[in-house]
C-alpha cells in the first residue's frame, strides 16, 4: 500500500470511530442512571445474613420449589432433570423424572417444573400439558385432561392451576383457573389484567402463591401495581408499590411479515421479580431510589417488602451480587430467601419481620 493509502485507511478508522462515539453519546447508554422520586427505608445491612451456598454446575437453572430444607431446582434445557439441593448438608441429588410421552416434550422447549408439597408438576404451555406426581415417586401422570395453552402457570390449589393465557375474545392476556374438579375445567377471570398499551406486553408480571394464606399475588412488570387473589382467582385487593410509574412505558410493534409482536425499544422495566410469603410481598425492583447509594444498588439487587393485607410498604434491603451475578430467581419461605445466582444456589436468613419493622419505626 502506498503512503497516501495508509493515511486514508487511518482516516477511515478515525471517522468511523467518531461516528460510533457520536452514536454512543446520543444513546441512552451515556446518560446517568435514572434516579426515581421516592425514598426507601433500608434495614441495616447486618440484618440479612448469608446462610449457605451450593454450586449447581449448571447455568440454566430456576427454582421449582422449597420443601423445608430441601430446595428443588429445575433445568430449562432438560425439564426431566430435577435437582434436589440440601444447602445445610451441602449436597445435591439429580433426579430423572419420567413422563410417558417424553419425546413430545423433548422437541418443544418451555416445560417448567413446580413443586407444591406433597406434589410436583411439569407444565408446558405450548403443547399444552400438565403432569403431576407425588414427591418421592418420580413418574408423573397426566393431571389435566384437556390442558389449556398458557404463557405462565402456577399451582393454585391441590386441584388447580392459575394460568396467564391469551383470550381470543378480549384479545389480550387474562388470568384463568384450570381445575381438575370444577366444571368447566377452564374458567377465565377476564378484566383482572388491565390493558394499557397492547394487552400482551403491558400486562406482563410475576405470579407467586403464599404458602400461609394460599393467596396468589400478581405483580406487574411495567407498572407500580399488584393484585391479591384468592384460591378462586377472584381479586381480594389491589395495591401499589412505592414508585410512581402507573403507566407502562413500552413501545410495541407488530411485524406483519412474520406475524409477531415485539418490544420496539428497550422498555422501562419497573419490577423484575417478586415472591409472596407469610403475607409479605418481596419485590425485586429495577428502580434506584432517591436516597439509595448508587454503588450499592449496582452491586446488588434491591428488594422492597410490603404487607399484603394492607398494602403498606414496610422496608427494603439489598441482596448483594454473588460471584459477580445478580440474583436471577428467588423465593422466600419461613423468613429465608433462596436465590439462584448463575451457577450458585444461595440462601439468606432474613431475620424476623417484626424485628425489621421495629428497627424502621424506631428511626
Amino acid at each position: 500500500m502506498t503512503r497516501i493509502q495508509w493515511y486514508i485507511l487511518v482516516g477511515c478508522i478515525a471517522v468511523c470511530s467518531l461516528i460510533l462515539a457520536g452514536l454512543y453519546f446520543l444513546s441512552p447508554l451515556s446518560q446517568n442512571l435514572f434516579r426515581a422520586n421516592f425514598d426507601r427505608s433500608f434495614t441495616s445491612e447486618d440484618r440479612i445474613t448469608k446462610e449457605g451456598e451450593l454450586d449447581l454446575d449448571i447455568t440454566d437453572s430456576y427454582l421449582a420449589g422449597i420443601d423445608d430444607d430441601l430446595i428443588y431446582v429445575g433445568r430449562r434445557s432438560n425439564p426431566f432433570e430435577l435437582i434436589v439441593a440440601d444447602i445445610k448438608a451441602g449436597t445435591k441429588k439429580v433426579i430423572n423424572l419420567q413422563v410417558s410421552d417424553s419425546t413430545e416434550f423433548g422437541n418443544v422447549p418451555g416445560a417448567i417444573v413446580s413443586v407444591d408439597p406433597p406434589y410436583y408438576y411439569i407444565a408446558h404451555g405450548v403443547l399444552p400439558r400438565i403432569y403431576r406426581g407425588k414427591l418421592g415417586n418420580w413418574k408423573v401422570e397426566r393431571f389435566m385432561d384437556d390442558s389449556a395453552f398458557f404463557v405462565d402457570a402456577l399451582p393454585l390449589t391441590k386441584n388447580s392451576f392459575a394460568l396467564r393465557t391469551n383470550n381470543a375474545f378480549t384479545k389480550q392476556f387474562e388470568l384463568a383457573k384450570e381445575s381438575k374438579i370444577d366444571s368447566p375445567a377452564l374458567q377465565f377471570r377476564n378484566g383482572i389484567l388491565k390493558k394499557q398499551v397492547d394487552g400482551l406486553f403491558c400486562v406482563d408480571g410475576s405470579m407467586s402463591t403464599d404458602e400461609v394464606s394460599k393467596n396468589l399475588v400478581y405483580l406487574y412488570t411495567y407498572r407500580n401495581q399488584y393484585m391479591v387473589l384468592d384460591t378462586n382467582l377472584h381479586v381480594v385487593a389491589e395495591h401499589h408499590t412505592i414508585d410512581t410509574f402507573s403507566h407502562a412505558q413500552i413501545k410495541v410493534a407488530y411485524v406483519e411479515s412474520q406475524g409477531y409482536s415485539t418490544l420496539a425499544s428497550p422498555p422501562a422495566q419497573i419490577n423484575i421479580d417478586s415472591w409472596v410469603s407469610s403475607n409479605l410481598l418481596y419485590v425485586q425492583s429495577n428502580l434506584l431510589a432517591r436516597n439509595e447509594d448508587q454503588g450499592l444498588y449496582e452491586r446488588s439487587s434491591t428488594i422492597d417488602v410490603y404487607d399484603v393485607t394492607g398494602g403498606k410498604y414496610l422496608y427494603s434491603f439489598h441482596i448483594p451480587d454473588q460471584h459477580r451475578t445478580k440474583v436471577q430467581d428467588f423465593r422466600i419461605k419461613d423468613q429465608r430467601l433462596v436465590g439462584i445466582f448463575g451457577r450458585y444456589l444461595v440462601t439468606y436468613d432474613l431475620g424476623s419481620n417484626s424485628d425489621l419493622k421495629k428497627e424502621i419505626s424506631e428511626r
Binding site: C12, L20, T262, L263, P266
Partner: protein, 144 residues
C-alpha cells in the same frame, strides 16, 4: 483474454455480501427496523439507520464494479465492515441488550462467530486494496 485475479475474487465476495445483506434487510424492512430499535445503542437513530445501512451497502456493491470507483469502494467496504465489527464488539461488552437484525443465514451465527466473520471481511477489503495496487502496477508495465 482477461485473467481472473484475486482482486476480482475479493470484489465479488464483498459485493455479494453487501448485496445479500441489503436485499435481506429491504425485503423484511419493517422487521429490520423494529429489531434494530431494540438496541439501546441505536434505538434513537433507528429511523434513519434503517434506510441508510442497506442503501450504503447497495451503493458500495455497485461501485465495486465501476473501475474508476473501485478503489474508493474498497475503502468504503473497509469502513463499513470496521463499523459493523466495532458495533458488535461494543454491544457484546457494554450493552444490556443484544438484539440480532442481520437477516438471512447471518442470523444463525453466534455473536462471536459473527464478530470473526466481520473482522475477516474488514481485512479482506484491505487485502483488496493491496491487490488493486498490484493490478495497477501490472497495467502500467503492460502499457510501458
Amino acid at each position: 483474454m482477461k485473467k481472473l485475479d484475486l482482486l476480482d475474487v475479493i470484489t465479488v465476495l464483498l459485493a455479494t455480501l453487501f448485496l445479500y445483506a441489503a436485499v435481506n434487510k429491504l425485503i423484511t424492512f419493517q422487521e429490520f427496523q423494529v429489531q434494530i430499535s431494540k438496541s439501546p445503542y441505536i434505538t434513537r437513530q433507528a429511523w434513519w439507520i434503517a434506510w441508510a445501512v442497506p442503501s450504503i451497502e447497495l451503493l458500495i456493491a455497485a461501485a465495486l464494479f465501476i473501475p474508476r470507483l473501485q478503489l474508493a469502494a474498497l475503502f468504503a467496504s473497509f469502513s463499513l465492515m470496521f463499523m459493523f465489527s466495532a458495533y458488535i464488539a461494543l454491544v457484546l461488552n457494554f450493552s444490556p441488550y443484544v438484539p440480532c437484525s442481520c437477516g438471512g443465514i447471518l442470523n444463525k451465527l453466534g455473536w462471536t462467530e459473527h464478530l470473526i466473520f466481520n473482522i475477516a471481511f474488514t481485512l479482506l477489503a484491505v487485502v483488496g486494496v493491496v491487490f488493486y495496487n498490484r493490478r495497477s502496477r501490472r497495467m502500467e508495465f503492460a502499457t510501458a
